[in-house]
């Protein structure tokens, strides 16, 4: 461990951000114990009827309202109480109420992440936590990223590194914030010429890297059985072009979104067994994105694997 520590510390780690499906995730400063396993199934319903073309918020009657539905199984495993592994694989379907273009459906990106708790320290009135999360995701199946706004995702691998800091007070209040750098690769498209501030003769598009900031204030009720949170999230691509006038978006765009949300999670009988969760997010600002509002509902089931 000691020999590997510098290597690991060298990696600023990430947290799993479901930017692509615009969901908030259940993964935060909470860690599961060794051999605990949690299975979750999340359904999310998102819509927008306005989108930012560059920074201009507009409507488009040939899209009308765009609806995006996601069903996502997720599994988390406590390798130790300090190291958790999380994996998810969303299924997504899109459709538009206006126009004549057909929506898409299929499996989006497989995501695997490793969350490590580095520090847990008692200070006045509570505990200070520091965690990191490293995540990697890549498209599975053959969805086409270059069919926006109907495409299921941006179609490129992503490596994310996140640092999470939390302060959990003994009275149940939780403050949390995190920052992440999301390194994206290229997406293969089905043409070998496109325009991105000039001609590009390639069958690949560079998906811009992004920065993510996340903050939450939460409160644990009912002896830690119910958690409520108010959240804020910012996700900004660090490069990229704008959607051109009345033109379709493409994966090279500089997407930005800031959203506010609320989150509730209820463990029906304490940490083990069945839980439910619900969340709502609304985009208050953005660029080259739909102005999404998303409602998510989920079931979780947590159990401890017996040691052999």
């Amino acid at each position: 461990m000691n020999k590997s520590l510098p290597i690991i510390l060298g990696l600023i780690m990430s947290f799993f951000v479901q930017f692509k499906s615009n969901a908030q995730t259940p993964w935060d400063e909470v860690m599961m114990g060794k051999n605990e396993i949690c299975i979750a199934l999340i359904y999310e319903h998102s819509t927008w009827d306005k989108y930012w073309e560059g920074t201009r918020l507009r409507e488009n009657a040939n899209i009308g309202t765009l609806t995006r539905q996601m069903g996502m199984p997720m599994i988390a495993l406590g390798l130790t109480s300090k190291v958790n592994i999380i994996a998810s694989l969303p299924y997504i379907a899109t459709k538009a109420s206006g126009g004549t273009q057909v929506g898409q459906s299929g499996i989006q990106d497989l995501s695997v992440s490793a969350k490590v708790e580095w520090l847990q320290k008692r200070i006045t009135g509570g505990r200070l936590l520091f965690l990191t999360n490293l995540h990697y995701s890549r498209p599975v199946g053959n969805y086409l990223s270059d069919y926006m706004p109907f495409s299921l995702g941006f179609g490129a691998p992503e490596l994310g590194l996140r640092a999470i800091a939390g302060y959990k007070m003994d009275n149940g209040l939780v403050f949390r914030s995190s920052i992440a750098y999301l390194k994206r690769g290229q997406t293969e498209i089905e043409r070998n010429y496109y325009y991105q501030n000039g001609s590009v003769y390639s069958q690949f598009m560079n998906v811009p890297d992004a920065f993510n900031f996340h903050a939450a204030i939460g409160y644990w009720f009912l002896e830690n059985q119910l958690r409520l949170e108010a959240t804020y999230q910012l996700l900004n691509c660090l490069s990229g072009d704008d959607i051109r006038a009345y033109n379709a978006p493409q994966p090279t765009n500089k997407m930005e979104v800031s959203q506010v949300g609320a989150w509730a999670q209820y463990y029906i009988k304490g940490r083990q067994g069945l839980g439910v969760l619900a969340y709502y997010n609304y985009a208050v600002g953005g660029r080259n994105m739909g102005q999404f509002s998303s409602l998510g509902l989920g079931l979780t089931y947590q159990l401890e694997l017996t040691k052999k």
Partner: protein, 509 residues
């Protein structure tokens, strides 16, 4: 704990490889400098498209001053900045390639359809107020095909004149005059006066500035860079460039004179004219195409593009195809059923074909796609600038003629699109704002393929396959019936054969 660290390290490694294995995304065609497969000493005798008597361009050989020019070139070459060195590499000894790419880039930049205003009306691009919004032009396929034809014809006619003068005066290039000058490109025995590159630069700047008026400054910058690069490449004297410019401006005038009176300015009609065209079709055939967008566009795209003056065909009706099957007929039903089948069970391969050939909004259009093929064949066959311009001129005049013929059919037959005739039909491609029959992709592509097959017979089967794939791509995409595509291919081949006939009759093959 160690095994977890190992897993994390593996995850990281896999992720990093996956992300950092980056394919190149070049903005122009990078190719090795080549020596021309032939020089075409008789090129000055080739038949021109617009230029009458070459001798009318009064060009006098420079009597004095070449020695001083040589010193200037040496000075310029000895103090090149990094950007200037890059410019010399970029322009190459066949700048036809570059100016064609610049035209395609501008087409892609301006190929944006005007969106609706707040009140649901549409404002059309206006050449009298190019700034807009919307900016002028909307470089849709008809517009782009025509712009490319003028560009290529002006380049070709200009180079025929240049070749004529080159072999009349037979003046050496700087590196032939002075062995101390090492040219940036492969040496050849092409006489240096007048500069072929300067002819190309001048006509290209002029034609493209007229076609894309908001890009005048951008084009002027490229023009200056190109001129300078020829001096710094050691291939031309300043007086070669001046003479090339002179030829270029004469040719530009002739080409732009034709462009101002070819009927294009009337192609986008007002609504009453558009309505009468539609009513005429309805009375004749009992059907009519409607725009299905919201808000509905009041006029289709360039209803009178079919009346624009053709290059190689004397009368558009001569190449008009017969009527399509009536909606509801057996033939129609069969092809409509096929569209539903594709929509429900499109294979990944078919989807790829639909997208590969889409060349829709924001791209260089199908004519642009064929210009890319021509470019690649030209470099592969190491053609000199004159030969290159000839290929582009014959192909692009064939392509715009195919477009004119296609638009004639589109608005004569005024045939509805699948989204109009098949209730609830949804497509993966956007349906364009003009009637279905015949398919533009099919006619443009077949005409391009016929001409490229004439110049590059060894690749004939590839060009034919491309054209047929481009035609079927619209059927897979749900925006054309099979009969639109099949008749379009026939029509395009027919129109293209006029250009091939003309090429066969050239004095210099």
């Amino acid at each position: 704990m160690n095994k977890y660290i190992t897993s994390i390290a593996i995850l990281l490694t896999v992720g990093f490889c996956n992300i950092s294995c980056i394919e190149e995304t070049p903005s122009y065609f990078e190719f090795e400098d080549y020596s021309f497969s032939e020089l075409d000493e008789n090129g000055g005798l080739m038949n021109t498209f617009l230029l009458g008597d070459i001798e009318e361009i009064a060009l006098e050989a420079p009597q004095t001053g070449r020695a001083q020019e040589l010193d200037d070139i040496k000075l310029l070459m000895s103090s090149m900045t990094k950007d200037e060195t890059k410019a010399v590499e970029y322009w190459t000894s066949n700048p036809i390639i570059r100016w064609n790419e610049i035209a395609l880039e501008l087409a892609a930049k301006y190929n944006l359809i005007p969106g609706p205003n707040e009140d649901g009306t549409y404002t059309l691009p206006n050449p009298a107020n190019p700034q807009g919004p919307p900016a002028f032009p909307f470089a849709h396929p008809p517009y782009t095909s025509r712009a490319l034809a003028y560009l290529s014809v002006a380049q070709f006619d200009g180079l025929v004149a240049a070749w004529h003068c080159k072999y009349k005066f037979k003046l050496n290039s700087p590196y032939q005059e002075d062995s101390g000058i090492i040219p940036a490109y492969s040496k050849n025995n092409l006489p240096s006066f007048p500069s072929d590159g300067a002819v190309v630069a001048k006509v290209s700047k002029d034609i493209l500035s007229a076609m894309f008026p908001l890009e005048k400054d951008f084009l002027e910058g490229l023009f200056q860079e190109h001129l300078r690069s020829m001096l710094q490449a050691g291939i031309n004297f300043k007086s070669d460039l001046d003479a090339g410019e002179l030829i270029g401006s004469e040719i530009s005038k002739i080409a732009l004179q034709r462009a101002s009176t070819d009927g294009m300015s009337k192609a986008q009609t007002p609504k009453p004219v558009s309505d009468s065209i539609k009513n005429a079709a309805f009375e004749r055939f009992g059907w009519a195409w409607e725009n299905m967008e919201s808000p509905k566009r009041p006029v289709g795209l360039t209803p009178l593009f079919g009346k624009v003056k053709m290059w190689n065909v004397s009368n558009v009706e001569e190449v008009r195809p017969g009527p399509p099957p009536a909606p509801g007929s057996d033939q129609f039903n069969k092809d409509a059923e096929e569209l539903k089948r594709f929509a429900n069970n499109l294979t990944v391969e078919q989807r790829k074909i639909a997208n590969w050939w889409q060349d829709g909004l924001g791209t260089y259009t199908p004519p642009g796609h064929w210009n890319k093929f021509a470019k690649e064949a030209i470099v592969k066959n190491k053609l000199n600038p004159l030969r290159s311009a000839k290929v582009f001129a014959y192909m692009n005049t064939a392509i715009v003629d195919a477009g004119i013929s296609c638009w004639d059919a589109k608005y004569y037959y005024h045939y509805p699109r699948p989204i109009q005739t098949i209730p609830g039909f949804k497509t993966i491609l956007g349906t364009p704002n003009f009637p279905a029959y015949t398919s533009g992709h099919s006619t443009f592509s077949a005409a391009g393929a016929v001409v490229l097959s004439y110049f590059f017979p060894e690749d004939q089967s590839m060009f034919n396959k491309y054209a047929e794939e481009a035609a079927m791509s619209r059927v897979y995409g749900g925006i054309h019936y099979r009969f639109d595509a099949e008749v379009g291919i026939e029509q395009g081949r027919n129109v293209g054969s006029y250009a091939v006939e003309k090429a066969k009759n050239d004095r210099v093959k």
